[in-house]
């Protein structure tokens, strides 16, 4: 904010914004290079973990759209993950072309999600949670029942997505590139989506449906849209799951996975794209780390870690930089501002912006 009333507000706000934009671009560049290089220097195990992060990142992304951004509790994301994985398995085992399979993994869950939402979006809060919760609960026995499509409780092993000879890559590297590419595309599209018109409609439906109505936003349609996108992304993550795990069974869609995805979403940062990715990292890595500490106590350890993170960062991992910055600044600044007349003056100017603004306008 403007620290001196004399300097026009525009320059003082755009200057830091421009540098932060450059910082952002640089960060994205570094990240992109890291993403490309990582699999080349990592073991198959590390690549498996990185690929898993991409898989669950997309599942959590969908969840974040419907829950974080639009405020509609969904306890059914694992059902779409499982559905996508089953469709992918069926497609691969029946020699459908890969891109077509991916398309169906997106479209079919999206349609199913939309149909569910057409009924469910009339509800809100816990009634809605109830409906979404039923999806994995009913989905598991359904998957067992239709074993000619799903392989029943034995599940289905699908060995596919081998690196083409010409690529010179190992299978794990190749699979990594495939899933990370899909994830990057999904993230880019989602990021655009939540920024503009549609994103604002999500946000206002979360905040206040009456206002949404008066601004020309149909809460019902918006919720159906959010659910559809969430299911679509869930389905896509199912495809990615099959690409990475090469196996699917009713265990893929159990309710517990949904709950863990919700926890990961909140831990990463609800209504945040970066938070989504961090949530996926958390989802995949914390059990691994817990296993390193003590394999017999993974539940206890993950629970404690979960709670600890929530304690320190209630707004999610994504708020860590902000939190650190705040800690640093509060350490620099005395707890009782009056001790330092100039700082308190500045604060006064900030807090009393109306007067500051008027002087701006008239000077």
């Amino acid at each position: 904010m403007a620290t001196s009333t004399a300097s026009p507000a525009t320059t003082s706000t755009t200057a830091p914004r421009a540098t932060s934009r450059w910082k952002g671009v640089a960060l994205v560049g570094v990240l992109a290079i890291a993403l490309v290089v990582a699999p080349l220097v990592s073991s198959p195990y590390v690549n498996y973990q990185l690929s898993s992060i991409a898989v669950f990142a997309v599942a959590i992304l969908g969840l974040n759209i419907v829950m974080g951004y639009t405020g509609q509790v969904s306890l059914g994301q694992s059902a779409f993950l499982g559905l996508g994985a089953y469709i992918a398995a069926y497609g691969i085992l029946h020699d459908w072309p890969g891109p077509l399979t991916l398309l169906l993994c997106a479209v079919v869950p999206a349609v199913v999600g939309m149909l569910v939402a057409l009924a469910a979006a009339r509800l809100r809060g816990l009634a809605l949670a109830m409906i979404t919760l039923a999806l994995p609960i009913v989905g598991v026995p359904l998957a067992r029942r239709f074993d000619e499509f799903t392989g029943g409780s034995q599940g289905q092993v699908v060995s596919w997505l081998r690196a083409p000879e010409s690529s010179g890559l190992a299978n794990d590297q190749w699979r990594y590139y495939v899933v990370v590419l899909i994830a990057v595309v999904a993230f880019a599209l989602a990021r655009n989506l939540v920024r503009g018109r549609i994103g604002r409609s999500f946000a206002i439906v979360k905040e206040n449906e009456a206002v949404a109505l008066s601004m020309g936003v149909s809460p019902y349609r918006t919720k159906v849209l959010a659910f559809t996108i969430a299911s679509l992304l869930g389905g896509v993550s199912g495809f990615m799951y099959l690409a990475v795990v090469q196996y699917t069974s009713p265990e893929t869609l159990v309710f517990a996975t949904s709950i863990n995805l919700v926890a990961a979403m909140v831990i990463g940062g609800s209504a945040s794209i970066v938070g989504t990715a961090l949530g996926a990292v958390y989802y995949v890595l914390v059990p691994v780390l817990a296993g390193q500490v003590n394999s017999s106590r993974t539940a206890l350890i993950s629970g404690v870690v979960l709670l600890a993170v929530l304690f320190l960062l209630p707004a999610g991992l994504v708020s860590l930089p902000r939190r650190l910055a705040r800690l640093r600044s509060s350490r620099r600044r005395p707890a009782h501002p009056p001790a330092h007349p100039t700082t308190s003056d500045e604060a006064a100017q900030t807090a009393s912006a109306p007067t500051a603004a008027t002087t701006d306008q008239h000077s």
């Binding site: 029943g152 409780s153 060995s159 190992a170 795990v245 196996y247 817990a290």
Partner: protein, 393 residues
């Protein structure tokens, strides 16, 4: 591409990863938390007890004349296939030599193709699913240890068929491969006999009670109830519910849910005319085996090492202890420090009387279509805390 097999440190060129001149590392991933954690931790605890005890006694002797200690790494997969794959990859990354004894059908099924591809032994699995044992040519790196569920089912079927009377059977089976294989085995054995299945029901492991199923089956008034239920409270519920409905058939229970202390006594099984179960291992807690040397050794080792991993006993604790002995046997026959040599040795064990196995039950890994233990003995509940042998219906 990159080198798929980097040799472990200290190993000479010909050795497989995970083995040196004085140590060998093996790993396992089983559920250590969540609903299946009880059996899951036992699959680790028993094996660990055997290994640690042997290590403490100087180590394992190998066919190549060296003595090695075993490094044992175990991980938790919460019965989640994706986590099992992750764990398996992690273990490979940590250079394990072999993956031994893991519990769980979906988790092992997900691991199997990777084991085949990476040519890593995934052996002596503590799961009775047939997939891992019935076609070992197709997946030469994988073997099952405990009798398949079908073997158990078949044993029942044979007893019934051999009774040579018209018998009616009601079946209650878990709605997955466990239940299905059980029924498959039963059906194979009773084909063409006078035995007839007159009612059948299934259940989900997540059900809270099976009262409805038992009520339905009771209406058939069948002579025999095969209760292929793998969940302790549900199995107890079946036993109590059937008698409360005044239905007292002869009962068949699977080997993993027939422990007197936790199932039969709470379920009031003494009320039934007969309760049968297939058995292949000694129950170390049973007074009948209190003086057994194997049992004493087991209890000793378990007390020292296993009890920090599993706090409650399930039969899997005893089974995985026996697994340790089979592993030992395989090491003894292993002439080179390679996985190939290990598999060759492992697959040539026959007639081996592993500790804790019942007299007459032996380990035979030479067949290509069955688990290492291919036989069971039927035993009958004596109404208190133990079983007695059965010969006829």
């Amino acid at each position: 591409t990159r080198d798929s097999t980097a040799g472990g440190p200290g190993a000479d060129d010909s050795a497989s990863p995970g083995i040196t001149d004085d140590s060998i590392s093996i790993g396992i991933s089983s559920p250590l938390s969540g609903a299946t954690a009880g059996p899951g931790s036992c699959t680790i605890a028993g094996l660990d007890a055997y290994i640690e005890a042997k290590n403490a006694a100087g180590g394992f002797e190998f066919g190549d004349g060296k003595t090695r200690t075993v490094d044992f790494t175990y991980l938790d997969d919460v019965y989640d296939p994706a986590k099992a794959v992750s764990n398996f990859r992690q273990l490979l990354n940590d250079n394990i030599f072999a993956y031994v004894g893991a519990l769980g059908t979906p988790t092992n099924a997900a691991v199997m193709p990777i084991a085949e591809e990476e040519e890593v032994p995934q052996v002596l699995l503590t799961t009775g699913a047939r997939t891992f044992s019935n076609d070992q040519e197709a997946h030469p790196w994988t073997t099952g240890f405990v009798p398949t569920y079908a073997t158990e089912g078949r044993a029942f079927g044979e007893l019934l068929a051999n009774a040579n009377q018209p018998l009616t059977v009601a079946t209650l089976a878990q709605n997955d491969d466990f239940g299905e294989s059980y029924l498959d085995g039963l059906n194979e054995a009773i084909e063409g006999s006078q035995v007839q299945i007159v009612a059948s029901a299934t259940y989900e492991p997540t059900d809270t009670t099976l009262d409805a199923q038992v009520t339905e089956l009771a209406a058939s008034k069948a002579d025999v109830l095969l209760s292929a239920v793998s969940v302790t409270p549900l199995q107890v519920g079946v036993l109590t519910k059937a008698q409360s409905l005044g239905w007292l058939p002869r009962i068949f229970l699977p080997s993993n849910t027939s422990t007197p202390g936790t199932i039969l006594q709470p379920g009031g099984a003494a009320a039934y005319p007969a309760v049968y179960t297939p058995s292949f291992s000694k129950n170390p807690n049973s007074p009948a085996f209190a003086n057994d040397e194997d049992v004493k050794a087991y209890l000793d080792a378990f007390e020292k090492y296993g009890s920090k991993i599993a706090t409650t006993y399930t039969p899997h604790c005893a089974w995985s202890y026996a697994e340790g002995a089979v592993l030992d046997e395989a090491f003894q026959g292993m002439e080179e420090p390679t996985r190939e040599a290990f598999m060759t040795s492992l697959k040539s064990i026959s007639g081996f009387q592993a500790p804790l196995l019942l007299d007459g039950i032996t380990v035979d890994t030479t067949t290509d279509d069955d688990a290492a233990i291919a036989d069971v003995q039927l035993v009958q509940y004596d109404g208190q805390a133990a079983f007695k042998p059965v010969t006829a219906y």
